[in-house]
């Protein structure tokens, strides 16, 4: 065996793979330094195993939630709950919110969980510390709404409304307002139901008065709850809609108008196209003058040029007396068709075809050119390619014809689309096609040699 040991001590030729890390080329590493660096964030203290295992536990819960393994998530949750007793007070303060979020997710989806379990859990979590009461109450109420338990949700919201403890920060204020608003929404819902019932009753019916009085009470409560929230900048579509409906029912047009104007035009509120839609619909119901309607929709046009109300806007503009409105009308049509979602909108194309002809007949070539200049580089392949010609003709021949007319007017009779469509033979549309060819021949902007 001595030979063997001699073999071992025989000098090696060179270090094969094991490059020791102290060689300067590959950089130096200090194991003790790593530990110190890691402890900087915790103020010089080493991370305890408690912190390490609870954060590993959290990772397991998150993984289980992502994979919808509710059973597994519940198992780890059982252990994770000990963070509520963390000796580190910073971590302990943030723990209830994390536990609530994870726990409520699990209880929402777990097959063995029920509304009672959720209720117990929510009630317990609400009362840990004071910062989470409102938030959890609101989420609890939404959960109950989700399950159709309106009375229970109302009860939770009422409890939360009357909660007074400690100073309210600004974020808490918003929560209180939200809670009141949801309560208002629930009351609106019961008002609405009563309205339905009332409409079935006869005016002379003895129950009518009580019913309508009842309704009035509800509406009064609703308005109190909703109006505070609506004053705060934010997006409150469902609340606003319900509120307006109620106001209109009781004939408070001024009140409704004020709310809607505020909602749409107050600069503090985030830009919300729905606000303008609500205002517009209200004014339409009121039969406001055309000028007013146009001014409202103009703003909507600037925000959402592809909105479905734009066609209505175009019609309004067309009917107007002012020339600038007519020009805008053309702009709006082109604007709508810029969007991929509207490429098959037959009304839009119909309008455009008709309006183009009208505009060109009215010698407003400059308007058309202005619109077309920015589009002539991409509209041909976007709308009028050979592929579109075939596909449009196959799906909807009327659409194809309208598009063909527009194509012909803008690109001349030599363009692919127009040529393809005009070659197609069709009994019903024969007459239309003939008209189309005539118009193109007469009015196409290409003809004027520009």
């Amino acid at each position: 065996m001595s030979d063997f040991s001699e073999e071992l001590i025989r000098p090696t030729t060179e270090d094969e793979q094991g490059e020791p890390c102290v060689r300067s080329g590959s950089g130096m590493c200090f194991p003790w330094l790593q530990k110190h660096i890691e402890s900087i964030a915790s103020g010089g203290k080493q991370e305890k195993d408690f912190a390490q295992t609870t954060s590993a536990c959290l990772n397991f819960i998150q993984e289980a939630l992502l994979k919808h393994q509710w059973q597994r998530a519940a198992e780890y949750m059982h252990s994770y709950l000990q963070v509520l007793e963390d000796t580190d007070s910073n971590k302990r303060q943030g723990a209830p919110e994390i536990v609530w979020r994870l726990g409520s997710e699990i209880l929402y989806y777990h097959p063995k969980s029920s509304v009672e379990t959720f209720n117990t859990f929510a009630d317990r979590m609400k009362n840990i510390g004071i910062t989470n009461y409102l938030k959890i109450s609101l989420q609890h109420a939404l959960y109950l709404l989700h399950h159709g338990l309106l009375e229970d949700a109302n009860r939770i919201l009422t409890q939360a409304e009357t909660w007074r403890y400690g100073e309210k920060s600004s974020s808490q204020e918003v929560l209180v307002n939200l809670i009141q608003a949801y309560k208002g929404l629930l009351q609106y819902y019961s008002w609405y139901k009563k309205k339905m019932e009332l409409s079935k009753l006869d005016k002379d019916d003895y129950a009518y008065n009580t019913a309508s009085q009842n309704m009035l009470n509800h509406s009064w409560k609703t308005s109190i709850n909703l109006c505070t929230l609506i004053q705060i900048p934010g997006v409150w579509d469902p609340f606003v809609k319900s509120y307006i409906e109620m106001l209109e029912f009781y004939g408070d047009q001024d009140g409704a108008r004020e709310v809607l104007n505020n909602y749409a035009y107050d600069e503090k509120f985030p830009s919300n196209p729905n606000a303008h839609v609500y205002l517009y619909n209200f004014l339409k119901r009121e039969k406001a003058p055309r000028e007013k309607l146009i001014s409202v929709l103009k703003i909507l046009y600037q925000i959402v040029p592809s909105h479905k109300l734009m066609l209505e806007f175009h019609r309004l503009l067309r009917k107007s007396d002012k020339e600038e409105h007519h020009k805008l009308g053309l702009e709006v049509l082109f604007g709508i068709l810029d969007f991929a979602g509207c490429t098959k909108n037959i009304t839009a194309w119909k309008y455009l075809a008709k309006y183009l002809k009208q505009t060109l007949m009215g010698s407003h070539l400059a308007w058309v050119q202005e619109e077309w200049n920015s589009r002539k580089s991409w509209w041909p392949s976007f709308h009028f390619s050979y592929f579109w010609a075939k596909s449009n003709w196959k799906d909807d021949k009327t659409l194809a014809c309208e598009k063909a007319l527009v194509a012909g007017l803008l690109l001349g009779k030599g363009c692919k689309y127009f040529r393809y469509i005009s070659k197609q033979d069709h009994q019903v549309l024969k007459k239309k096609m003939k008209q189309m060819k005539k118009s193109v021949k007469k009015y196409s902007i290409v003809n004027s040699g520009l």
Binding site: M1, E16, P20, V22, S79, L84
Partner: protein, 437 residues
């Protein structure tokens, strides 16, 4: 290798809080009125005073003390086993105070002593062992001879069995032990009185010897071990009747799977560990109701979630065992390599056998001599994947850091290749001075 007797006696070795004091206790009766107080009579002073030369007992030091008694008796249990039993809750440590009698109320300063939020770490406990032994002025420990469990030859055999390596490797490890002189009685004995008390990390050292043996046989350069496997595989296919040649690749696949499974289970069990016991510890009388209410809340929430979990067949708590892996010949699912032969990697050379592999690479080329605590460092990316796998395997088994094991491996190699190191020392003595850490 039964340690059941120890596991039971663990509960009795509670720390005696009242260590001998040179001055009388004054504030005992007024401790409840002050805001800083403790349930024990002298908890406040105990945690404050830090006199030089006075070492205060703590829960980790208690564990170190237990190990000293085991070492004195040369019990068949290593430090890593002991720490693993603590983690597996066979030995009370985290929840030790929960077992105190009712009359012993703990609060205030006691919390700092008894509320443990980390498992005992090998390196830390190891230092404490030396500290406690030195402080207690313990005499020279009994010799550790060749038939002691803690002797490297025996420990190597144990670990070879545990990681499913062939019994024949034992010859190689014995050779390494002999060549490095780490099996000598003088080397192994723990002597706290000696000028610079040091003790041997019996388990880490044994495992390091196995790593060196593997490097000798297989080189572990991500190349040779696989070529040798191919040869072994071919031989085994042709000669199904003979004793099979050890196939490194097959062993790797089996061990990787086994270790990955174990590691996953270990991580999951750790993540689920409940640190807080039934009796909460609180700071003062004002704190008490809050802390108790919190505990109540957590317990009720836990009950809620445990009802959602399918009452799984309650896995019985396993009895403490030295072995984390068990390999038997009969199991076809998990092949056992104990009986395999190393013929494929050894060759005849005259009268004796030698390894087919004639190369070796050192884990550390130069040792650090500055004041930093480590003699070498471990940067994973500098080493072959096989080496990394082997280190990870054994580090997990012993629950130590890979750098810790790597250091021990380097130290074994330093002894083994003394001649080579002396040569390089002479050459580069100049360049050593310029290197600063």
């Amino acid at each position: 290798m039964s340690c059941l007797s120890f596991a039971e006696s663990g509960a009795e070795s509670q720390p005696d809080v009242r260590t001998p004091k040179p001055f009388p206790i004054i504030k005992a009766s007024h401790s409840e009125t002050t805001s800083v107080c403790s349930g024990s009579l002298d908890g406040v002073e105990y945690s404050l005073r830090k006199e030089k030369g006075v070492m205060k007992m703590s829960v980790p030091r208690t564990l170190a003390f237990c190990y000293l008694s085991l070492l004195w008796q040369r019990e068949t249990i290593t430090l890593s086993d002991l720490l693993r039993f603590v983690e597996e809750e066979h030995i009370p440590y985290i929840h030790a105070f929960q077992h105190f009698p009712e009359e012993m109320k703990l609060y205030g300063r006691d919390k700092g002593i008894f509320a443990i939020e980390s498992w005992p770490n090998y390196e830390v406990i190891f230092k404490k062992i030396i500290e406690v032994a030195t402080f207690l002025d313990l005499p020279r420990f009994p010799d550790i001879t060749e038939n002691c469990y803690l002797h490297p030859n025996i420990l190597c055999m144990k670990y070879l069995m545990e990681v499913n390596l062939p019994d024949e490797m034992h010859n190689v490890t014995c050779l390494v032990v002999k060549s490095t002189g780490i099996g000598e009685v003088d080397f192994l004995r723990f002597d706290p009185i000696a000028k610079k008390a040091k003790t041997v990390k019996y388990d880490v050292q044994a495992v390091a010897v196995i790593v060196v043996a593997l490097k000798l046989l297989f080189l572990l350069d991500d190349n040779l071990e696989w070529s040798l496997s191919n040869i072994a595989k071919k031989y085994n296919e042709k000669n199904k009747e003979d004793k099979p040649w050890f196939d490194f690749r097959k062993w790797y696949q089996v061990m990787k799977k086994a270790i990955d499974e174990k590691k996953q289970k270990w991580e999951e069990a750790r993540a689920k560990f409940l640190w807080k016991g039934e009796k909460p510890l609180y700071y003062s009388a004002i704190d008490r109701p809050v802390v108790y209410k919190r505990r109540e809340m957590v317990v009720s929430l836990q009950k809620q979630f445990s009802t959602l979990v399918d009452s799984a067949p309650n896995v019985e708590k396993k009895k403490p065992s030295s072995f984390q892996f068990n390999w038997t010949e009969e199991d076809s699912e998990r092949p056992c390599f104990h009986g395999h032969s190393l013929q494929g990697v050894l060759q005849q050379k005259g009268q004796s056998l030698t390894t087919k592999n004639s190369l070796y690479w050192l884990s550390t080329q130069k040792f650090c001599k500055s004041h930093c605590k480590h003699v070498t460092t471990y940067e994973e990316s500098n080493f072959s994947l096989s080496y990394q796998f082997i280190l990870n395997l054994f580090s997990f088994l012993l629950r130590i850091k890979t750098s810790f094991l790597h250091e021990e491996v380097s130290l074994i190699e330093k002894r083994l290749f003394k001649a080579k190191y002396n040569k390089t020392n002479k050459k580069s003595s100049r360049s050593r001075k310029t290197r600063k850490y």
